[in-house]
Subunit: 147 residues, 2 copies
DNA sequence: TTGCTAATGATTATCATTATCAATAGTAAA
DNA sequence: TTTACTATTGATAATGATAATCATTAGCAA
């Protein structure tokens, strides 16, 4: 938990940005959440600790955390940007249940490798990708909770 | 081009929906565009043929075309929903150049198969997925048009 | 034709996010 | 420690894509 703060402080110094209590608070709350959060969700949590904070500040600083390499944006395609930890949290894809919304982080090195090759076939050099797998989890199928 | 119209008419009949000139026009223009289009783009094109058409009608009916299985939504993550042909246009993923925006449709049956297996490992039955590969195309790398 | 009701077009609402801007507050130098 | 500079904040308005509303229009079956 110390390392992330160091990274953030160095990032701020390097970019000539200022260290503010709001930024510390946002980083702190973000780090304590293990799951991905939207700006809205984080704002709701943060308000309890500092009711005077503005929601624009939360939006602004989540972007900043991404720039600092501490957060990573994820887009589940529902129009809301979520943020997840990027430090000590290696790349992965997302397996999402259509029934209950449960989300599992997955990786398959073979898929990753094949993606690179497919890109190369078309003369592209792959920089990144987004893979979302949608399906129905075991419980949902058992409980008829899904289609 | 006849087949799609048949499908649409049957879909309308089956759902007790009406056949209107606006719907015919939207379908016609959509079918003539080979590339994916947003509702906004399609509206701009359609206005030239029928300036009285409302943009809500375009939004509404693109959704309807999706329900009818003639169109398919694609989400490039820029906040705009685009529609592409779904009839006689099998599933594929998208390889997008970060430099010039060029888009190539790709498929790799091994990747597809592996995705299913990864899902199964977690007790999921895969229904669909979204895979977007981002990189830099040959021209962009040659012309220093990208990072 | 008539009658029922879906569809349309104009408009407003929504929702996440961004821009604006006056007031506030880090921070480096005096 | 004061000053001065300017980044940051919070409140609020703006944005942009899409959805909802609603009175009017128009398919279509009887």
């Amino acid at each position: 938990m110390k390392a992330e703060q160091d990274i953030f402080h160095k990032f701020l110094a390097q970019k000539d940005l200022r260290d503010t209590p709001q930024r510390e608070l946002i980083l702190d709350v973000f780090l304590k959440r293990e799951e991905h959060v939207s700006a809205e969700q984080l704002y709701d949590i943060i308000k309890k600790r500092d009711p005077s904070i503005g929601q624009a500040t939360v939006y602004r600083n989540l972007k900043l955390l991404s720039e600092a390499g501490l957060a990573r944006e994820v887009d589940f395609g529902d129009g809301v940007t979520r943020y997840e930890h990027n430090y000590n949290h290696p790349h992965h894809d997302h397996l999402v249940c259509r029934g209950c919304g449960k989300m599992v982080e997955v990786v398959d090195s073979v898929i990753e490798e094949l993606q690179k090759r497919v890109a190369e076939q078309y003369g592209f050099v792959l920089t990144d990708h987004a893979l979302y797998l949608y399906g129905n989890c075991a419980e949902c199928r058992k409980g008829h909770r899904s289609g």
